[in-house]
């Protein structure tokens, strides 16, 4: 009897936990005015500004680059590009890998601040959780440059970002246009998502919005876990069991899409439209070779890295710059690649 009670208790606790989590409602939130966006031209650095920045940094000051992760080509390229660009200009720079872990990122920021960072260039995958660490940094006089997001503009810093909504919409828009042109408007679409990162959810939602708007007769069969090659591969293998007629895959990044491509090829498919985001080199190669991979959104990671350092220099030199800078989104397709040659 005692053990039956224990078993029932455990089941009830599990059910209660599930119910309470499902019952939590998300706030709709007030619709905010979109920020006014500057451009890369607003970040052009003069010789005087660079000298002023070098003087401000002195011997011990540095620019700390806190990356979300190094496990994807986009994020590693931003951080490496920032580091190389800063070094080329003679600026002291250090980098840190947050490994998509909130505690790790908080520690990284705190360590940089106590070590003498004067500017922190940061990618935030969970902005609310790290906000207090950045507020403390700002109170200590550290200037903040955020890339791949716009949450920290309130701390007086600068944000340099491709809008996740823009990226997602561009990918979804292109996929929808191909559905209309090549599939007469009808398709079974799988969206590869990565809900662990709040900003990426915005991308997936924008992909869905674009498809629903531009190809309304296409059926979105589901959001599946992507984000990494293995996730994309595993999810697509299983999705094809349930929906063997999937003929369009749109992914929040190239890594997941490449995994899905592998699964589709393993299944003997060569008739699927695949669109990703991040413009990883492998994706670009596949697009140029006229494979199932049809397009990717270039988020200009190398240019983003350079722009973060330009922004840091401007801030150190106390120059006026817009608070929010847009990194332009470019769609890469076989046509755009051919035009470049």
């Amino acid at each position: 009897m005692k053990h039956l009670k224990l078993l029932v208790s455990i089941l009830l606790i599990a059910l209660l936990s599930m119910a309470s989590m499902v019952a939590m409602a998300q706030d709709d939130g007030d619709e905010e005015e979109p920020p006014e966006l500057g451009t890369a031209e607003d970040l052009e650095v003069t010789e005087e500004e660079l000298e002023a920045a070098l003087e401000a940094l002195g011997e011990d000051g540095f620019i700390g680059v806190v990356a979300c992760t190094y496990s994807t080509e986009y994020h590693s390229t931003v951080a490496e590009s920032a580091e190389a660009y800063a070094t080329e200009k003679g600026l002291n720079v250090r980098t840190f890998d947050s490994e998509i872990n909130v505690e790790t990122q908080i520690s990284g920021i705190e360590n940089f601040v106590s070590d003498g960072a004067q500017v922190i260039v940061v990618c935030l995958f969970d902005p609310p959780s790290v906000q207090s660490a950045l507020e403390e940094a700002a109170e200590a006089g550290v200037m903040i440059v955020q890339y791949a997001g716009r949450d920290m503009a309130d701390l007086g810093g600068v944000t340099i970002s491709v809008e996740d909504a823009d990226m997602g919409y561009a990918a979804g828009q292109y996929a929808a246009e191909l559905i209309n042109e090549e599939l007469e408007g009808e398709a079974q679409v799988a969206i590869l998502d990565y809900p662990d990162i709040a900003n990426v959810v915005i991308r997936a939602d924008a992909i869905r919005a674009a498809i629903e708007e531009i190809a309304p007769d296409a059926e979105i069969v589901g959001n599946y876990l992507g984000g990494t090659a293995d996730n994309g591969l595993t999810s697509m293998e299983t999705a094809l069991i349930e929906h063997p007629d999937i003929n369009v895959v749109v992914s929040i990044n190239d890594a997941g899409a490449l995994g899905a491509l592998q699964a589709l090829e393993n299944a003997g498919r060569d008739d699927v439209i695949i669109v990703g985001i991040d413009a990883e080199q492998q994706a670009i190669d596949l697009i140029a070779e006229d494979t199932m991979y049809k397009g990717t959104v270039d988020t200009a990671p190398a240019r983003t890295g350079e722009m973060t350092i330009d922004a840091a220099v401007k801030l150190l030199a106390q120059a006026e710059i817009p608070q929010n800078i847009a990194v332009p989104v470019n769609l890469i397709t076989a046509e755009t690649l051919a035009a470049e040659e």
């Binding site: 455990i10 499902v22 590693s76 876990l225 299983t238 069991i241 492998q282 190669d285 070779e289």
Partner: protein, 331 residues
Amino acid sequence: MTGLSTTMSGSGQRRIMHSLAEYGFVVMFFLWAVYLTLATDNFATTDNIFTILRQAAIIGITAIGAHFVILMGDMDLSAAAVISLSGVVMGEAMVNQGFAPIPAALAALVVGALVGLANGLIVTQLRINAIITTLGTSSILSGIAFTITQGKTIYGERGNDPIDKIEFLSRNRVLGDWVPVPVIILFACYIIAFIVLRYTAYGARVYAVGNNERAAWLSGIKVDRIRIATFVVAGALAGFAGIMQVARQGTATAGMGADFLFPILTAVVLGGASLRGGRGKVFSTLVAAIFLTSINNGMVLLGIDIYTQNIVSGVILVVALSMDRLRTLRL
């Protein structure tokens, strides 16, 4: 009469509880499989079952090594990092250095075995706790993998990709073009592991060390050597899993093993191996690995929203682990 009927219902209840305790998560697996069979059209198809088994292969093979280590009362947290580093070594050797598949695979296996050797030596000679040791080596391995790849994906030229030479480890089917190769490899590894643990002196010594290390030492067993050998086995198996993952993905990335650690250790614990060592059936770890894979598979087939999947898989695991917990309670 009343007393007699009370005794009988009490004994019937004890039998039910005893069965639940003995077969723990297997009951949960069975219920989940029955539910999926009834609720979906495609769960109980050959195609889907082989898909599950194929997806379970990487976790399952690595879990053998983790099982061996846990049998000794230790834990290896570097397995996922070994998968990543061995996979990167394999990819780098074949794609960028022009190695043929066999030498590249040997290099990857040697890397895994050497990591295991390092873990074993640190634990036995420096007397550092295995959890701390393998956490540390995991971080080092991850750094090495990222240094080699510079954060980029290793892949070959399409149509002339060296990695295609090992794609048979993932894509091919045997036995009348029916059974996927990874499934054969998975079961072969478990049969070998079972034979080693059940019928060899080494296997007996692994259990002996886990059961009572001091008694094992007093009986003449070279405890440190057994421990080192076991970590080497675990490292080599994780290295082999890294090779198979490269064959599966067709690419190699520094983070490719990162998501595997939790399911690997969960499979061993769910399979009933005692974290104190000395107890555990390797085939139970296999069943647990397949069960874990079937959870994700089932949620996709059921069309469960991606944002709810973590909740559902967590609930299933909690219930399965709770049922398993019953076996340690006095009945």
